[in-house]
């Protein structure tokens, strides 16, 4: 266990150990260790092809690991299927905003409400007051309170990003994984998002992939640098930025 993530908390929420995946021999993620604590916002950075997105895929079950383990609240995720991982409390936002263009903002959020998830549950699902309240609450969080009836396809790019984050919040996950949440956002939107992330990190852990260093600075408690599927460096933003290996990797090509 690296000293870095060692001793604030004996039990990290997420403990990734020796994680490895290879596609036809090519190791996209190679013997990776990663520990994230409650209330922590962790940002993973690294050059393209470093395996950042693959790590998220592995954690949420989209890709199956070739080796290693992923412990989430002492539950082994590597052998669980996607929806069980989600139900266990892991939420994941995709790189390109992935929402239901045909449905209204309200319905998009409603979809993620953790009720009526089985076939017959869905068949007889009733839009209770509880649901409506929750939706309004989240909508307020993600700055879309007055766009609830809007058809989601018509939202701006930034708003779509928020909506997807909102859909995750509906599930009230313990671990929130965001793949480039501010891509394509205006400066002001980025500020709002940073503020949003800081708010929602309370009581849960957030794992973010991001390129925009300004944004990273504004949210990251700790930064992990990936390179060729391995952890190159880990620590505070400052320490990482001083790290010669990191500089070499980033400026080296």
């Amino acid at each position: 266990m690296t000293t870095a993530s060692g001793f604030q908390m004996p039990k990290p929420v997420l403990a990734v150990e020796g994680l490895t995946v290879s596609f036809d021999g090519f190791k996209a993620v190679d013997d990776l260790n990663l520990y994230i604590d409650r209330n922590e916002v962790r940002v993973v950075i690294g050059p393209n092809g470093a395996g950042k997105t693959t790590v998220l895929d592995l954690i949420c079950g989209k890709t199956r690991a070739t080796g290693g383990s992923i412990q989430f609240n002492n539950r082994e995720l590597t052998r669980m299927n996607e929806y069980d991982i989600v139900r266990a409390g892991v939420g994941r936002k995709f790189q390109t905003p992935s929402i239901y263009d045909n449905l209204s903002v309200f319905e998009n959020l409603e979809m993620s409400f953790p009720k009526g998830r089985t076939v017959f549950g869905a068949l007889f699902f009733k839009r209770s007051q509880q649901v409506v309240d929750r939706v309004n609450e989240v909508a307020a969080d993600i700055f879309l309170a007055d766009l609830l009836q809007q058809q989601a396809g018509l939202l701006s790019h930034g708003q779509k990003q928020w909506l997807e984050i909102g859909m995750l919040l509906m599930q009230d996950p313990e671990l929130l994984m965001l793949d480039e949440p501010v891509a394509g956002m205006s400066v002001s939107e980025r500020a709002q998002t940073a503020d949003l992330l800081n708010r929602i990190s309370q009581g849960r852990s957030v794992l973010v992939i991001e390129h925009d260093m300004e944004f990273v600075k504004s949210i990251a408690h700790k930064v992990t640098v990936l390179h060729q599927g391995k952890v190159l460096a880990e620590g505070s933003m400052e320490s990482v930025q001083k790290n010669p290996k990191v500089i070499e990797v980033y400026l080296g090509h």
Partner: protein, 305 residues
């Protein structure tokens, strides 16, 4: 004792039979492997392109018979070439007016091409009549080569086999050794990117589809030596052919070959021990069951998504 040697001979011929069934299946599947495997287009009218080849051969053979009987022994090679051209040309046209508009809707391509197959079948019926016709292949293709007095190898079987090897080899070279093949595979991998690097994907698609249909045409020509030629002759093959390609793992030409071999041998061997119908059921069910357990087919590479 006599019986034993007989049995050896039969075993040999049975093995050969398996091989020739394999070649037939492969020859049919090749065109599809290109169109479906490489382009991801489901062409339900594939069987009809096969029929086009068969009819082309039939027309040519009747012409030869009536006008230049002397050519009888040789016309067949020309017929094969012509079948390729005709089927290919029609395929090119079809791609242009129909397929090209449906690339983003694979399921709809399937339905539209099925409609096309209906039209083509009726067209054959209107032009050549509903009756089965028979292109008579050159004499040298008939009869069998007797290795021993017991072991006899049908010549047309050998011929189809040779043709299959030739076609397969050719397609392999085209796909993996030529610039065109590179473009095709590039387009398959990433349409947008290929366009960006200056590949005329439209052109590539069109040629690929035409090639696939052409190959089907050749298959049709070859089948006139072993099978019948009728308006619906091609549609008989379509399901087996698709299964072969799917079973092999669509993207992989090697897979297609392997699955054609597997299916053919199962069919041929089981036919030897049970009634033909049951053999068919057994073979298809086995394929389906394996597909249920391994939907990506025999050969398929794990892709980073």
């Amino acid at each position: 004792m006599q019986w034993l040697s007989d049995f050896g001979a039969i075993a040999a011929m049975q093995g050969f039979n398996g091989l020739s069934v394999f070649c037939v299946l492969l020859l049919m599947a090749l065109g599809l492997a290109i169109i479906f495997g490489q382009m991801g287009v489901i062409n339900m009218a594939h069987g009809e392109f096969l029929t086009i080849g068969a009819y082309t051969t039939y027309v040519l053979s009747t012409l030869v018979q009536n006008y230049m009987p002397s050519m009888q022994p040789y016309y067949f090679f020309f017929a094969i070439a012509l079948s390729f051209v005709v089927a290919g040309a029609i395929g090119w046209a079809v791609e242009r007016v129909m397929i090209s508009r449906l690339y983003h809707r694979p399921l709809d391509t399937l339905l539209a091409t099925w409609g096309l197959s209906l039209v083509m079948q009726q067209a054959f019926r209107s032009i050549f009549g509903a009756r089965e016709v028979s292109a008579n292949p050159p004499e040298w293709l008939m009869g069998a080569v007797s290795l021993t007095d017991a072991i006899e190898i049908p010549k047309n079987g050998l011929f189809v086999m040779a043709l299959t090897v030739l076609m397969t080899g050719g397609i392999f070279l085209m796909l993996y050794r030529t610039r065109w093949g590179l473009q095709v595979r590039a387009t398959v991998q990433n349409r947008v990117m290929s366009r960006a690097v200056g590949i005329n994907t439209r052109q590539v698609d069109r040629m690929t589809f035409a090639l696939g249909c052409g190959v089907a045409g050749v298959a049709g020509a070859a089948f006139t030596t072993i099978g019948s030629t009728g308006p619906t002759a091609g549609s008989l093959y379509i399901v087996d052919t698709f299964l072969t390609v799917v079973f092999g793992g669509a993207q992989s030409l090697l897979g297609t070959i392997a699955s054609a071999f597997a299916i053919a041998q199962t069919q041929s061997v089981s036919e030897f021990f049970m009634s033909g119908s049951m053999a068919k059921v057994l073979t298809l069910s086995t394929v389906i069951l394996i597909l249920l357990m391994r939907p990506q087919g025999l050969f398929s590479s794990k892709i980073r998504k």
